[in-house]
Amino acid sequence: MTVPVEPVLEISELSVAYRGAAGDVRAVERVSLSLRPGEVVGLAGESGSGKSTLAYGACRLLRPPAVITGGSVTYRGRRLAGRSVEVLERTPPELRELRWREIAIVFQSAMNALNPVLRVRDQLLDVVEAHLSLTKLDARERVASLLDLVAIPRDRLRSYPHELSGGMRQRVMIAMALAVDPEVVIMDEPTTALDVVVQREILGQIVELKQRLGFAVLFITHDLSLLLELADRIAVMYAGQLVEVASAHAVHHGPAHPYTKGLLNSFPSLRGPRRELAGIPGSPPDLRSLPAGCPFVPRCGFATDECTKVDMVLRAVPGARDPGHVSACPFVAPGAQAPDGKGTVSEVAS
């Protein structure tokens, strides 16, 4: 179907821990994820599942006491012309070159991520001047055209962050992320703080920009419903580990892992038969005292004694239409029903 392309960002067996006096808290445990050029990969999970830690850790933006305890992050952008860069081994100056120019981030709260005492124009100029050597005039023109890109009037260049509306601020964040043409844009819950209408606008803008400029997106959110429409592939995280990776279509119509089934069960879809919303009982585990085996056991409708011995390796899902569909649960198949009727996903005719 598709010619296998080298991934532009390849995270391999990455582990991140928070080092404390009482030992390590393993926030991310041996996660492997790859991003192909122009692809949209969604990273879904509850708060505390480690999805943001994974993304920031891969860019080495986590502050002490966070420590990367294993794995590798390989970047192969077009500008590198075939070379690959090992992010975990870069020196600080090398990292600075990589940051933003190759991998940019759209932060969750634009109000907090923008410098309150600088004008929008100056913050954008900062980024442009740090990575590109343009004349002053060219730099200014580029900055102005960035605002055009996200449909913000140019007179807003002179505004301060607190003078903009929430939606406008988020669009400034997007413009900022695209300022120097990155290959990869990590979006950390970019629309969570916005109301639904603005959310749709922003998402539409993101899709349009992606098609125009061709960057890859790692979209982090707790809202799986967004990803079903937006993403090409979806990775689901729980308690710091990946539990399922599949195409968006496969996740929507045939999720393999009980957690994913539970997530899907937590929101209604516009189409399809009415059904009872079940949600997932219980709360996320304490990362300091994880049980042996699968961390989802306490909340899983399919759990058996075997689950405490499972080794949480992602395996190909037998019988899945998507060849890349992997799941950490070897016991449950797509479409399976839990013994007590929970964890059911209605099969929607696709």
């Binding site: 933006l61 981030i105 709260s109 991520a113 410098n115 309150p116 005492v117 600088l118 900062d126 301060y160």
Partner: protein, 331 residues
């Protein structure tokens, strides 16, 4: 609320405060128990009867006309720069005494305060950015400097550097025998005499600024926009200055403004220890010799000067924080 409304509001505040200072100054001698005029007459038996009448008029002891009338006369006098006549330096006018001593305080203390603010703030930024470095280890020593009473340290410094080592003069603003004026021998002597006083002020105030700045800076470094700045690949220098320090310094700026009031109080102790010919020493002498007109006049001038300094600092703050320009003030 627009920026203009904000500025107007502050101006109104200062006018009110200035009026309050004026009025407090007017009422103090009239409210205090005892009759200051009698005390003065007893102290200075050589005073002529005219002086007594003048003093009585000044302090309202004669109740010449209604209180309102006296108050009005007082306000008019003040605006004409007439602050009365000093008793200990009779017949020198209070305003001329102040005119002679105020510049000494302002230059020395002003420069010393600005230097200690700059140094302290700079070191505070460094201490926060290079957390865990040698600056953090110096912190306990700095807290000691903050806890020690100023004059104690000043006395020790004088004892060590002036008395024992003889590197600097023990006291005074300039060598006695020199005539004040803008000629080099005098200026040189003045500078030489200002080293120790300035040093003691800088050393004691710097610690406070540094600790304050460090604390705010640490909080600021934890903010999302600093992380975002790092994520953007900006140089460390840019992140520290324009993103972190530029925000962290804002609360300190308003603190700096308020401390200007304490600058003049701190000068008082310094001038006593060093017998420095500033306005603080003059006030002290006035108090100990019950020279009420001089006391009153100096207090009024100090209060007004502090208000002016605060006004300037407020203006600086509004320029520095765009959010304040929108009228949203947290102070």
């Amino acid at each position: 609320m627009s920026a203009v409304a904000f500025v107007v509001r502050r101006l109104v505040f200062y006018v009110v405060a200035g009026w309050a200072a004026l009025t407090v100054n007017f009422f103090i001698p009239r409210l205090m128990p005892g009759n200051p005029v009698e005390t003065m007459m007893a102290k200075f038996p050589e005073l002529q009867p005219q002086a007594q009448r003048a003093l009585e008029a000044e302090f309202g002891a004669r109740h010449d006309g209604s209180l309102i009338h006296q108050y009005g006369q007082y306000v008019v006098d003040v605006f004409h720069g007439n602050l009365g006549v000093s008793v200990i330096e009779y017949p020198a006018k209070v305003s001329s005494i102040i005119g002679a001593t105020l510049p000494w305080t302002l230059t020395l203390v002003g420069v010393a305060t600005i230097v200690s603010f700059a140094l302290g703030t700079g070191l505070g930024i460094l201490a926060a950015w290079r957390r865990g470095g040698w600056l953090d280890r110096v912190l306990p020593a700095l807290t000691f400097l903050q806890g020690i009473p100023y004059f104690f340290l000043a006395l020790l410094v004088v004892d060590a550097f002036a008395v024992h080592l003889g590197w600097f003069p023990i006291q005074q603003g300039y060598s006695p025998g020199l005539v004040p004026g803008w000629h080099w021998p005098f200026v040189q002597s003045a500078l030489y005499h200002s080293v120790l006083p300035a040093l003691t002020i800088v050393v004691t105030s710097m610690a406070g600024w540094m600790l304050q700045m460090r604390n705010v800076m640490i909080t600021t470094i934890g903010e999302d926009y600093v992380l975002a700045a790092q994520a953007k690949g900006l140089s460390s220098r840019r992140v520290v200055t324009t993103y972190a320090a530029r925000n962290a310094i804002l609360p300190n700026l308003s603190g700096f403004a308020l401390s200007l009031g304490f600058v003049i109080s701190g000068a008082l102790l310094m001038e006593i220890v060093f017998s420095y010919p500033g306005i603080g020493l003059t006030l002290y002498n006035a108090v100990t010799s019950d020279d009420y007109p001089l006391m009153q006049g100096i207090f009024l001038i100090i209060a007004l000067a502090v208000l002016l300094a605060n006004l300037v600092a407020d203006a600086v703050y509004v320029l520095a924080d765009p959010r304040a320009r929108a009228g949203r003030s947290e102070t």
